[in-house]
């Protein structure tokens, strides 16, 4: 006869949370006052609330970092606390990898690791880190609600009050997604803040995270680390980048009537932003393109905003130095009643996926199917937001002229399921044929395949799949992959804009000429552009000082950009 089964107990999460709180209270004593913990006791707090095997989200965003909490985490006792599973958007700080070398953490799920890519690769091959998976941002946030829910969230906010309400302000970024998943699954939320307001002489400008979602607040000794990642000095833009930007505006934005878009990070897109008020104006395009943006507050968009091109911008995060400009342009940016920016990476990623008609960005390598990757040998850099922004949104149902036109081009002449009428998002990969040190951007085989072998990944880390790429834009012209009917045409279309790289020199000349006749490849001349007109004089701002002047003095560049 079977032994009677014990009735299942259903209060584990609540009990677990209560135990951790009890340990914290016992450990901290008078260093804990309500929710406020003295900075000197940050390590003691973490030792108390953490357990071996916990899943921890340490707020490593693209821009802001919970750096004080990261520094505390690496000091936790690895005898007690080990085999942590780290889940975070970005590996930015050395401490983000120190937790693995210190024996505190074992497993990692993340999205982007730019600054730490080389060190990450070393730790992986030394067996000190197991990578669960590399994600795109929105995908990682989604998993916080399914199978990667954090037990502990270590976040960064601008300010808190004694109750634990948080003001995250312009750099709200990933915090709402992280905190919601953690707080509503019995997890523990700890926030480092730059300022504790007393509620008498100082107040929170607004509440971004309600106190009920927050367990502990620590006033950090230094303001949290933030990087101005999206600032580009116009003085560094070249004539070739101006030429490519002209082709983007004429050959794609004007051609499809792109009103809603996202620009990937980089100099190439900065050049487009700076050509709207000049070249775009000369083509009579104001009001016909570029009204609505999913975009961080790029300083290089200032001239276009001032000239009346931009109706709205929703942002993933903020950008250092842009705060006062944003305040003064609340008609354009998403700002609170307090006047400061409210950013939200999860919502902006969703907006870029479903509510934009075009994504355009750069890459490091592309193969003959149009697959592109920023993975290079010995660096595991990850993807960031590109896979989400640069993917066709197959769930989308509302129509726009650009989306319908792209969809018609892709499906013309196709039958069956693949020919069912639908729109398609424009996904443009914009790259010079040669990178620095004459490294070709076009290759037969991506480094991503070698990286897959080296690190034992299930798939090569491809950032944007060729099937989603609609246009490849180089200094040699635009290849419209929507008009390619098979893999051979796609290959020759890419070779046809790959210039003097080995891949480009090996083109089938007749096939490429045929593609040009059909308009699959369009060169600058076909777009009515004389390359000799592509000079820096066409840029609406040619220096950081020009940007400041265009903003009426409201833009205040970080010191490293003050070169006048």
């Amino acid at each position: 006869m079977n032994a009677p089964t014990e009735p299942r107990a259903w209060g584990h999460r609540a009990a677990d949370r209560a135990h951790r709180h009890a340990r914290a209270a016992a450990e901290l004593g008078s260093a804990l006052s309500g929710k406020v913990v003295a900075a000197t006791h940050a390590v003691a707090l973490l030792n108390a609330v953490l357990e071996a095997g916990d899943r921890v989200c340490l707020e490593g965003n693209n821009q802001k970092q919970a750096d004080f909490l990261a520094q505390a985490l690496v000091q936790v006792d690895p005898q007690r606390v080990h085999d942590l599973h780290m889940v975070q958007s970005v590996l930015a700080l050395p401490e983000h990898l120190d937790v693995f070398e210190n024996g505190l953490a074992k497993r990692l799920d993340f999205s982007f690791s730019g600054p730490q890519g080389a060190r990450l690769a070393k730790l992986v091959s030394a067996g000190q880190i197991e990578i669960g998976a590399i994600h795109t941002y929105l995908e990682l946030f989604a998993r916080y609600f399914i199978d990667l829910t954090p037990k502990l969230a270590l976040v960064a906010a601008q300010a808190a009050d004694a109750e634990g309400n948080l003001y995250t302000g312009p750099n709200t970024e990933d915090t709402p997604a992280i905190v919601e998943a953690t707080a509503f699954s019995g997890g523990i939320v700890i926030a480092q803040v730059n300022e504790l307001v007393d509620g008498r002489s100082t107040h929170l400008p607004r509440v971004d995270v309600p106190a009920g979602w927050v367990d502990f607040v620590i006033a950090a000794p230094r303001p949290n680390f933030i990087e101005p990642l999206f600032t580009r000095d116009p003085a560094q833009l070249s004539a070739i980048q101006v030429l490519m930007a002209m082709m983007a505006i004429r050959g794609i934005y004007a051609e499809y009537g792109v009103q809603r878009l996202n620009h990937g990070i980089g100099f190439d897109t900065a050049a487009i932003e700076l050509l709207l008020p000049t070249y775009g104006e000369s083509l009579g395009l104001k009001g016909k393109i570029c009204k609505h943006w999913a975009l961080n507050p790029h300083p290089t968009l200032i001239p276009a905003i001032e000239a009346g091109w931009v109706e709205s911008v929703h942002s993933f995060g903020s950008e250092l130095g842009m705060e006062n400009y944003i305040r003064a342009r609340s008609d354009v940016f998403f700002t609170g009643a307090d006047g400061s920016l409210r950013s939200n990476r999860a919502f902006c990623q969703a907006a870029g996926h479903y509510a934009c008609d075009l994504f355009i960005g750069s890459t490091l390598q592309m193969d003959l199917q149009g697959n592109s990757s920023t993975a290079t040998l010995d660096r595991i850099s990850g993807f960031g937001g590109a896979p989400n922004m640069g993917a066709d949104a197959r769930g989308r149902r509302h129509a726009s002229p650009a989306w319908l036109k792209a969809g018609e081009q892709a499906r013309a002449g196709r039958a069956g399921a693949a020919g069912t009428p639908r729109g398609q998002k424009l996904v443009v990969q914009m790259v010079e044929t040669f990178r620095e040190h004459m490294q070709p951007a076009f290759v037969e085989t991506l480094d991503a395949w070698t990286l897959q072998r080296q690190s034992g990944m299930a798939l090569p880390p491809i950032m944007i799949y060729g099937e989603d790429v609609t246009h490849v834009l180089t200094e040699e012209g635009i290849a419209n992959l929507l008009l390619c009917r098979n893999d051979e045409e796609r290959e020759q279309a890419i070779r046809g804009v790959a210039g003097y790289t080995t891949v480009g020199l090996q083109r089938d000349t007749r096939a490429v000429e045929n593609l040009r006749d059909r308009g699959v490849i369009r060169r600058a001349a076909d777009l009515g552009i004389d390359p000799r007109d592509a000079t820096r004089n066409l840029l609406a701002a040619r220096s950081m000082r020009d940007l400041v002047r265009a903003s009426g003095g409201l833009y205040d560049p970080p010191r490293r950009f003050r070169n006048w």
Binding site: E432, Y500, R532
Partner: protein
């Protein structure tokens, strides 16, 4: 024979052209800086368009050949000597400077 700086690669090409510009003063465009080049056009005797490249970026002879061949297809000059001082410009910049030089030749 001039003294070459160590590390500079010298490449020479010759193309048979059809269009002989009238007598002209030498044309100079561009500047020798990182990623840039200067291009000079001078009148020469004979039917050829000769090109001499002095470059700090060694080992790219094949690409220079292709770039200059395409340049000469666009502008089949005869009786012209082209001199290039290059400091690692990409083919895109090289093509642009060559076209700029020819443009100055036609519209001084």
């Amino acid at each position: 024979m001039s003294d070459m700086l160590p590390g500079i690669e010298v490449l020479s090409y010759s193309f048979t052209g059809q269009h002989r510009p009238g007598p002209f003063s030498p044309v100079l465009v561009g500047v020798v800086g990182s990623g840039n080049l200067e291009v000079m056009l001078e009148p020469a005797d004979g039917p050829a368009c000769t090109v001499q490249v002095e470059t700090s970026a060694r080992g790219f002879g094949e690409i220079w050949q292709a770039v200059l061949r395409d340049f000469h297809r666009r502008h089949p000059l005869a009786g012209v000597r082209v001199s290039i001082h290059d400091m690692g410009a990409t083919p895109a910049v090289v093509g642009l400077r060559l076209d700029q030089a020819v443009s100055e030749l036609k519209h001084p």
